[in-house]
Each structure stands twice: as C-alpha cells, then as structure tokens.
Amino acid sequence: MDRLLSRPGGFTEDEYEPGAIPISNIENFRVLVIGAGGLGCEILKNLALSGFRKIDVIDMDTIDVSNLNRQFLFREKDVGKPKATVAAEFVSRRVPSCKINAYVGKIQDKDEDYYMQFNIIICGLDSIEARRWINATLVGMIDMGNPDSLKPLIDGGTEGFKGQSRVILPTMTSCIECQLDMHAPRAAVPLCTLATIPRQPQHCIEWAHIIKWEEDRKDIPLDTDDPEHITWLYQKALLRAQEFGIQGVTYSLTQGVVKNIIPAIASTNAIIAASCCNEAFKLATSSAPFLGAPGTNNYMQYTGDSGVYTYTFEHEQNPACPVCGNLPRDLTINPDTTLQELVDSFAERPESQLKKPNMRTEEKTLYYSAPESLRMQTEGNLKRKLSELLADGEEMAVSDPAFAIDFRYKVRFS
C-alpha cells in the first residue's frame, strides 16, 4: 500500500504528490464507524489494514449467536458481550499500530461536539431511523464559515446477495433523506385482514404479534430476543392458522416476521464494507477519484443474485429534501379526506415514512401526536375533513419527534 501511495497513478490529479503526504494524511485521519455488526466488523478490519490509525466505533448491541455466521470478530464465548468493545479489542490486537476507541451506546447519546472531532463517518447500520438521524445531524452541523464542519458520510447496506454503498457530502450532494424513496417500506397488512380474514402464515403471526399479545400479555413488554416470547407467538399463530386452514407457520418464519429479519451473509457484507472503505481511502489520500464529489457518481448498487451487476450513478440532490433542500413538495389530495387518514398515510409515503407525525401550517397547529397535552388539544381535528382545515395551495410542515426533520408540503386539492 505504501508503494502505491508513493507513486502517481493513471487516474490521479496532476497536483497529486505521492509519498509522505498521503501516508501521513491517512494516519492522522479520524474516522468514526457507526455500527459494529456485519458491516462494522469488516469496516474496522479494512480501515486498520488501509493505514487508518485513529478510529472510533459506536454500537449499542450485544453479540447474538445468529451474528456468528458473518461477524467474524466474534466467537461463541463472546455471545452476550457488547459488539463495539469486542470488535475494537480484536482489531487492535491483530493490528497493534491501530488505535480503536469503542463506545457502547446510542448515536443519539452524542452531541455535535462529539461528531465534530472526526474527518469522516462511515455507517454500517441496519436501521433506517439511525441513518436518518445521523444524516440530519451532520447536515445541521454545517457552518458555511467553517470548512471543517463538513463531514463526509459513507453509508453501506445489504440484503441477501444485494447491497449499496454511497458517499454523501452534507448539503453539497444528495443525502440519505433525498434518497429515502430508494428504500420504500413494505406495505403494511391492513389491520382488518389480520383481525378477520387472514390468508397467509404471516397474517397469523402478525395477528399474534400485534393483537393477541396486547390482549393476553399486555403487562409484559415483548422481547423479540426472548425465545419464550417467540415460542408463545409461534404457538398462537399456529393455532390461528389451524383454525383458518392456513399452512406454513413455522418457528423460523415467526422469528423472521416479528423481528423483521433481513437475510445476511458474510460475502455481501465484505463487498459493501470494502467498497465504503475504498471510498474512504481514496478520499483521505487523493490517490484516485472518489465517489461523491459534487456532479459525479455517488452511489453504487450491487446485485449478486443473477451474475454480478453494479449500477454506479449520481443520485441528484432533491431540492425539496426536508433535510438538505429548501423547497416544499406538492401533496395532491382529495379535500374530503379526513386528517386521520392523512396522518395514517405518512407512515407509508415512501418519502416521509413517519409513524408519529406532527402537523402544522403557518396559521395553526393541525395535529400533534406528542406530547400528550398537545395531542389531547388537537385530536379533535382528526375527524375533520382537510377542506375544513386547509386551503388549496397552503403550505404545511410535517415532523416526527424521532427525527430532527421538517417535511414541507404544498397542499393541492384534487
């Protein structure tokens, strides 16, 4: 690697000076890795073997036996221990020159000062919520007078044989929120199907999960990692399936539905994590052009089910992005719709995916799902038609306490 950095390449900029500068750049580059799971383990290894010396890792999870088929820094004896600590210790032991700090906890525990210390942030997460949070935080940190406030964000994700890696320069290029509709949520099964006309094994499991648990074990918080809880759900789902003549409820399917399990394998994690770290390496050393410079490709999609196919492209910034843009987007809607129906629809709209929206116009508050006092004050509006609450062309802001984002919509009556 030192050899490569000491020589000019076929695609380096003319100003590129090989040798000591890129090598010292990388040694002093401070990297934050969010997530020490399937992608995180790979990312830590890759960074350590790419010359990065100052790494922090943050993860709140503990090691589960089902992690061992891909999270290669963990062993049977580590089950139950925090991922961040075990991963950091392992890599530091193998690559003694690399120093890794572990923090066991949530990214939301940390403030802007914490994130300000790093030169780059690499995410290997399975949660969309956490990605949206860090994205909004990094965009919010941008101070036009301080170039150091710009923290490139590299994000990876996988599902089965597929994955994607992307590089974001907050406010300068398309952000996680701009790209949210690339990862639309699966349509939820209507409650009435679960309650009255189940047809699929999944419907029986969701019924046990959402309805039956509330009825029978209201006082016990459901822990999807507790085998007794999963077994209970499995049995209830099985009984319901037998009642309706539905086949296919298994323990494994129950677990899959309840925990929303996404299939994951070592090889895909390796591909995506390495792609993320390759971009970080190029960015830190200027040894070759990196993904994500404004006006260039910033997104690589990888598909390995049928041959190998990558699609590397520029995802363009969305001017109406609630995080990094500043334009309201049009919301075309029937004026006879009730506010309740509109509230429900925000959970499923691909660009918003908000479960507990708060909504207001410049004039008035339409609905707040929290805090409780505001909810009580505003819940009367839920039954009213939109035509009674809003004017055609009026602007409305929608937010959710879970994310530091305002969505702006311009209401268009159809």
């Binding site: 690697m1 050899r3 490569l4 000019p8 390449g9 076929g10 695609f11 290894k45 890759n46 073997l49 790419s50 036996v65 089902s66 061992l68 088929n69 891909r70 290669f72 690559v95 089965g160 006309i197 189940p198 047809r199 085998p227 077994t231 037998q242 309706f244 003549g245 539905i246 086949q247 296919g248 409820v249 298994t250 323990y251 494994s252 399917l253 899959g256 399990i261 299939p263 994951a264 394998i265 070592a266 090889s267 390796a270 591909i271 994590a273 390495a274 792609s275 390759n278 390496f281 052009p289 993904l291 490709n297 690589m300 390995g304 089910d305 041959g307 190998v308 196919y309 990558t310 590397t312």
Partner: protein, 570 residues
Amino acid sequence: MASDQTELPPPFQDVPTAKERRYDRQLRLWGAAGQMALEDTHLILINNGPGVTGVETLKNLVLPGIGQFTILDSSIVSEADLGVNFFLEPSSLGKFRADETVKLLMELNPEVKGHAIKEPLESFISQDKIFAPYTLILVTAPIDPAILSRIQLHAEALQIPTFYIHSVGFYSSFSIQIPPAFPIVETHPEPTATDDLRVLKPWPALQDFANQKTTGLETMSAHEKSHIPYVCLLLYYLEVWRANHDGKAPETYKEKAEFRDQYVRKGSPDEENFDEACAAVLKSLNPPTANSTVRAILSSPEATELTPTSPPFWLIANAIHKFYTTHNQLPLPGAVPDMKAQSADYIKLQNIYKAKARQDSAEVLTTVRELERSTGRAPKLAIDEKEVENFCRGAAHIHLVRGRPLQIVRPGEKVKFGDRAEDMLRELENPESLVKLYLAFLAWDEFVATHASSPEQAGGEGIRVPGDTDLGLEADGEKLTGIAHKLVDDLITEAGTRIEEPEYSEIREKVAAICEELVRAGGGELHNLASLTGGMIAQEVIKVITRQYIPVDNTCLFDGVESRAYVLRV
C-alpha cells in the same frame, strides 16, 4: 427456504437447533439443501502473490460453514504480509503463510476443517490425481501460465469448477471455468416475476370456482363484492370481453389497457380487490408460453440425446419438453400471490392451484419414469420425485450456463478470442465495458510469463510482476502498455475489422492509463480491493456449489477507481 408445507409441526418441536440459530440469516437464502452442499465441499486455494484476496474469500466461506478447505502456499510470512492480511498476526512472522492463515481462519468456525500444503506448486502439480479430493479450485495470480494450463486440464477432466483471480492495486478480476453444461433450477427470481395464474387458460376447476364467486356480481352486496379474489374478477371480465370480441382475449397493449379501464375498472371505482385486478391485467394476461431461454434449454442436445447416465436435470427437461409440446404450457408452479379475499375462499383458490400443480407434476413424473426405462437407467440412479416437483415449480425460470475454459496466455503465441472475437470487439468499442481492464490483465500475465527472474535469486520464485521495483518502474510501464496495445490490435485483426480515429486513440490511451495503475501497485494488493473481490468470489463460489442463483458467466472485473463491476463472456 422452501419449507415443506404439507404438515404442521407440533409446537415446541420446531424450535431451531444451535446450528440453525448460527446459520439462520443464510438459511433464509439458500435453505437446508444449499447448506448441505456447502458442507460437502472441499475447496483448495492455490495462493500466489500477496494472497490476500484468496484468504478473504475463504473467510467468507468458512463463516457460513464450508466443509473443508486447503491452502497451498509455500511462502513465508513477511512484514509486508502483516500490513495487508488480517489472518496473520505479529507472531506469524517467519512461519509458513499457509499454516498461519489456516490456523486463524479455522478460529472463525469450529465446524470447518482446514489443511495447509507447503510444498512448492511446481512439485505439487507434477503428481498424479492431485485434485481428486477437491470439489472446487481457486488460483490466484501471478502464476506461471504453464502451471495454470496444467491445473486447467486437471480441472476440466474432473469437471471441478475453477476460479482464476487477479487483484492488483485498485483493480481485480476473476474468471470462472465450470462444466460446459451447468444447469440451475433454483435461480431465485424476483418474487414479482413468478406469479403464474393462467387466467388465459383456466382449467375447469378454476373456471368453476370463478363462476361460482362471480354469479350475480352486479346485484351482490358491497361486502361480498369487495371480497371476490381478483383472479375470479379477471376470469369473469374476460368472459364478458370475449362475448364482445368474437371469443378472443385482449392481446395488444391497447386492448389490455381497454380491458382494464373499460371492463374491470367499471366494476368498482375504488375497491381494493378491483385495484388488484387492474394492476394485474398487464402481467397476467399473457399466454403461458415459456420464454426463449427456457425453450432453448428444454431442446438442447443434452435433453434430446439422453444416455443411461444423463444427469437428472436433462431427463426431467426432456419430460417437461414433452409436457410443453402436448399442452403448449409449462407445468403450473401452483403458488398463489396474496390477494384480498375471505380466508376460506383464498384457501380454496390455493388448493385449486396446488391440485393442478400436483397433477402436472405427476404427468411429468410418469414421463420421467418412462424415460428411465427406455434409456436403460440403473435403478440406483432413479430420479427423486422431489427433484421433479422442484423442477416443475421453477420450470419457467431455469437457467443454463455454458462454461468455457479459462483463457490462458501462452508466451510466444498470439492470444486467440475465437468465436468471441466479434463480441469482444464490440466490448472494446463500448465505453461502459471493462474489457480494456481484462486486456490489461492478460498483458500483465504475459509480462509475468516472459519476465521470470532466475529461481536462484534471493526470495525469487521465478516470478516477476511489473512495477515490483522502483528502479524498473518506467520500463515496466512501457513494456506492459506495449503488450496491452498489441493485444488490442490482435483483437481488432482477429475480428476482421478496424476501429476509426479518434476512437482508436482513445482506447489506447485508456488502456495505457490502466496499465500505469497496474504497474503503480507493483503486484501489491490493496486490502479493500482484496476484501471486496473476496466477497464477490465467495458469492460466486456459493452459487456454483449450491446450484442456486445464477453465477457469473464467465469473467467479472472490478474497477476500484470508478467503483463498478462488469461481466464479460470470454
């Protein structure tokens, strides 16, 4: 993850075993059969050069539980190895790299057995039947082409899938040699691509059910109407359409759109089941003919010229071909997508489809049994009924890869592209294609073949890669680019054409820049590229071993400068 859906397990007996819990996330992809195939595998990695990509590949195969692996590597761990290979530790210095990497890889999974061979490749390869214990071979560059040719011949004779791998700086490539007929049944198509409802060719049980559900459609209660399964709605409105169109179904896009908007939609403006019916019109109103790929597989020589020992796939293919000729449709897969309906109606509909699928599969099985008799197949080779059912279920999505031998550079001989020359030339003219990188790697191999250092040289094993010393950097760059440019010209000549300016010069410039990048790395691996390539190769190994999903046919290139991959058929 096809689970046997015929019987419900009693509660508590279905709780996963320790092994199922460990492998849960992968069993959801390739199932128990795929896992068994993986565990029956013994892979050998012939690791040359820095050897990081090979070891990273193994990491991704040891973790999911490959049966056994062997690393053949005679080199000794150096300081440089420690900086780039994660499966070595400071105490490994001066020891055999094979021993050390095997030891640390085995820590990843107690179920997997690893072996190290430290014999030099030259003497290893000279023995007889040396590859008999192995089911898959990985070879990394740089390697003497004469030795690679011998490995290839062994592999071809024993039909062992073989991967040949390059990883140099920001670039990597791998080529796969698999048998000339490599059929796959479980291709795992996208779930949306597998709906097959046969609304244009309903059988009596389905038509009866639809009639029963739609009788009095215009007068039934709103509740009842909103719960008619959309398949029945489509069948009902097709009858109405046919009555107005001389008994013909909608055929063109325009007719289908009219059918959707003027017939189905008119039934109800906003009920969910009518929405589903409208959404399904374009993809469901197609005759159930097999696509051309499937038809070509069913009538390929292996399927028509059966022998007593033909692989089961080809016997079943022959039987399905007969089914297809008789009925002008493939056996029914039998799955029904979820749709708005009363539970009992949906279950009835499911049973109607399942019964027809069973009937179709039974007909195919009868033919298979006849073929077993007529071809004189030994009873111990009798084909499993489950395999026939499986084939029938996936018949519309089967795939055949025609494996080809690795392309190996032979010093003093022109590289020949043969029947691929014209296609390769088109690749050369396509700016998106990474064929230029492929040619640069061929040139790199030729450089290695013609620049052997003397074996007596300290640390030298007779192999020298371009850019390995600072001194010869420029000269190596010129040589490598020269070889690559000649390959470009040879390809153009073999394809019997020419490329005009300025395109020709642009191609030469791009090839030169790639060569410069290769020389810059001096044969060194970047860990990220090694890890990424190891991930891709592991995916392909899993696909080849499990015979699920579709493997690369046959060369995959990765460009870490532009961050993209490209597949070439060489």
